[in-house]
Symmetry: D2
């Protein structure tokens, strides 16, 4: 299967490495506005560094991976969808809810395979957690607590274009909430604070963001975000229900315990998302290729992207009302 | 020191047992509207079973323990405060915020020692947690998560008179939030659900109640309450700050681990508050007696009772606005 | 029940405090060669400071607690057994196996209640562990690992008279092995090292001592002793069997977890035996008093003391053969 | 680099998969007495299925992987060493100590790169443990406890030819002891029992085997082996020293915790060595290839194989003396 990759940054490297391991997948093209980096990665994976037009005109291309900055997604999706090329797109589809709706409808009408990179759905731990819920191990869900803290904030340049913590970071947790709760969200409360970097005020962003939401059935969900946890990447989920509770705790490199005169020390969580979700990145790509080969719809749709973004918009709106 | 105990129910038994162990403390009187139970406990601890008037008229009584149902607290506090007798009172002072304000002022004007039974402040684990915060181990607090779930709901009769889950149960967690955050709370969001017992609708109460609140400095706190956790009494606190995180996990009877062909099993948390807060009940009584002996103001004041109740009222109001 | 206490050191204080809490028990006499300390403790518990003769001649005394240094046990047991007074004696009975046999026979012939202070058998954690074994939770025992490390060595003066690490310290673990294995021990291997304090060579003692033993049924047991674990008192037991494994892990004061930029820190184990076995000390005394009141034989007999000492002797002999 | 693989069984599949991922490595040949399985694996990896002679005569072959049953190792090593081909050999070199010595000397004289498959030395957890020791985190080692239990015994056919539990299974733990203790072992005690399968008596083997050994410096080490742990593959190491203790606990697939009305459940350890040591198998192969490319001696030598086997022989001899 011939494929093309749009974007040659860090996430492109991860997906390229995973794609290169899949039998029958041939990375034919790379495109990036910066030819220095696209040439380099193209040569590493035996592909050609081309422009978008060349990719669009090559009818052998079965799938394109849109791994460019968010602001390019909308136009690039439209371009490739018009040629009925299957699309894997990094999250989010777009920072505008209207344009996201447009893409959702475009994908539906063109009938292409479209998958959004909500990689956490492919984490072995969360898959097992979700199966446990589906198998009734905790009964009906009453309360859900999603903790998601980064080890360090991105640089200001990134943050400026990110759309803010709710659209850029908490969007993953909104998707987790939708995925695990399997229920309509009917109300949401939100708070945001600048406790790490007060300069975020200039771009109306926050570094500490918390949400509480309620579903139609009455389940209540807490989402707890911080841009800086000094002990590392904190990714936990607690599902409390009528029959019990299941918790996904943090993962560590090893299970060493050091007992000294000072304390009993466990290892810190894995450093950041590349380490923590290594397996998830590999699995999501495998899933997408498998869906194309077997004519199955990918499990993460454009609609899922819309739903998560809609919650982010609501959270932002509620904070603005508050302030 | 001669003391009197008002109320002869379950909590009276606990406090009596702890008081009987303190040197120099003499339980002189018991009073309860039901003479059957007051006679029994009076005889057990070598005290006299009397009426309120007799206690009020005995000038040797240095302190009274008001352990009666909440609806009696207001009148009984006024009675003993008027005689300038020191008072230990079980929480809450009253279900009405106005009457609580009245008591706060009465206590202030009479200058008696008054202590409210927020026992969790005397739990060794939470004391150490609070010290860690004060010692700067987690830096500035950014997020606080208080989980408090009971193993089983009380009976309907109790619930009817309880004032509802926010005033009866979450009031402990509001006090914990005030105690640990050491900051003014400027906003609060709340949800309530009936997921365990739908008949609570008749008394406008909930069995699942969640709150998110924000302080002046920007710290965000989550409170997670349920009336029924099948795995037992779930009492955890997580404090996240600029320098790290400290968590108080559940306590168990022993630290046994059973590895079988099915799983690795740890013990369930201690069953309920009598077991979990055994040491706290003993310490709070010791503290109150110590304060009287040494003319020190107890660390839990009537104002603390007011502050916690005010948050409960706000939480209830916000839910009503929502529905 | 009138009782007398022989010895007024640290262990006497612990047992006195626990005895003073038992209804119907009256500490009538204390005896210690050093009247300064016996007068002090006698006055604290409202008892008389007397000599041994006075105690022997008071026919109201139902039980005596022999809490003197080991070298006095043999004569004192004989003294009180001859008067048919029930005896609680701190471990070990004596450092000589022959004299221990003599006491075992004396106790048998006089028919008094005799209990040896193997307090660990009364630890709630180990009781539950033993019940789990008896209830078949791990099936047949295949391997047993007993880890017992002190936080700090006693001073040299104590060690000189202690009988050595096998008779003084590991004797507890030998008793645990006998208690849990419920089987005849048919072979034993032992090693001893001086890794903490080389001056122990002068008294032919060790600070690091390890034993491996085998029972008739083929179960194999490891005992791991050290006089100095810098992280605190390390008291763990692992029972491995045909149906699984049960482990008793260390106990801590609280269950706090501190996550910092350096590590995830748990609390160290409780400092030493007074803290770790607080409940056990209370329970063993209650058991002994209960046995006297109800004419039941105490669960820890003089024979148990003999059996544990015999294993210590064997361990020492094997090391001597080796060196 | 052209290589050949001798043996086409389960371990051959693992190493083949890992070798196929290394750039510049070309699996040119497979040989197995059973052409059915060698043809299959050769075709999977694009290699030729040949006889030993063809491999020996192809001067392009830089390394051979001897993954055949143990009984063939001796002859095959001699064959390839005579042609000065570098050799990776699965453990053990041979079941005879004399023949092992012969191989050690042959390897030395031919100056080839020779590496023995003690894969555990390449486990990330044990590497970090060993580094912690080398960095002085636990100070001088006083006690070492190595627990190694399989989830299920191999079949009788395998066991018959295995050389027994000490040579086949505990040999890994002897190597761990040598690797971690970095000291001469001066004494050893051993016990063996048949608690799982009494039919092992026919082949003088055991299913439960325990060793205690002592080093020159006085450190004491316990090795605890069982052929059947119903809760899964139990691979733990505890290093206790003058400055503290470091423990390598079991690894699990995920860090989920399930709290139910019955208990708090953690996941069982990873099932068996293929899962548990997946990373180690990959790393050891990478190390060997790296050593050839860079003319470095592999970190696991033929001498290491001899040392571990010598301890196994001593353990067996001591048991025979006992019985």
């Amino acid at each position: 299967m011939d494929i093309a990759i749009i974007g040659a940054g860090r996430i492109s490297e991860i997906h390229s490495e995973n794609l290169s391991k899949i039998k029958d997948v041939n990375i034919k093209y790379y495109y990036d506005p910066d030819p220095n980096i696209s040439q380099k990665i193209a040569s590493k994976y035996g592909a050609s560094d081309v422009n978008l037009k060349q990719i669009l005109e090559d009818s052998s291309i079965e799938a394109v991976f849109i791994l460019s900055p968010t602001s390019f997604h909308y136009e690039q999706i439209k371009l490739f969808a018009s040629k009925r090329i299957n699309i894997f797109c990094e999250k989010p589809i777009d920072l505008s809810l209207d344009r996201t709706v447009e893409i959702v409808e475009l994908v539906r009408s063109t009938n292409i395979k479209f998958m959004l990179g909500f990689n956490r759905r492919f984490d072995p731990q969360f898959i097992k957690l979700n199966e446990a819920i589906s198998n009734g191990l905790v009964g009906d869900i009453h309360q859900l607590v999603i903790t998601s803290r980064d080890p360090n904030p991105p640089d200001f340049q990134y943050l400026e274009k990110s759309g803010g913590i709710f659209r850029d970071m908490m969007i993953h947790d909104f998707d987790m909430a939708n995925w695990l709760l399997k229920d309509e969200i009917i109300d949401l409360s939100s708070y945001g604070s600048r406790l790490i970097d007060s300069s975020l005020a200039a771009i109306k962003d926050y570094d500490t963001a918390d949400v509480m939401l309620k579903t139609k059935s009455g389940a209540i969900c807490h989402i707890i975000n911080s841009r800086k946890a000094v002990y590392g990447y904190d990714q936990r989920i607690e599902v409390f229900g009528s029959k019990g509770m299941i918790q996904a705790l943090n993962n560590t490199e090893t299970n060493l315990v050091l007992s000294s005169s000072k304390s009993i020390e466990l290892e810190k969580p894995m450093y950041f998302f590349l380490e923590r979700y290594k397996q998830a990145f590999e699995s999501e790509i495998n899933h997408f290729i498998h869906c194309i080969k077997n004519d199955i719809n990918p499990s993460v749709s454009a609609e899922d992207g819309y739903k998560a973004l809609a919650l982010a918009e609501l959270a932002i709106k509620k904070i603005h009302n508050l302030n």
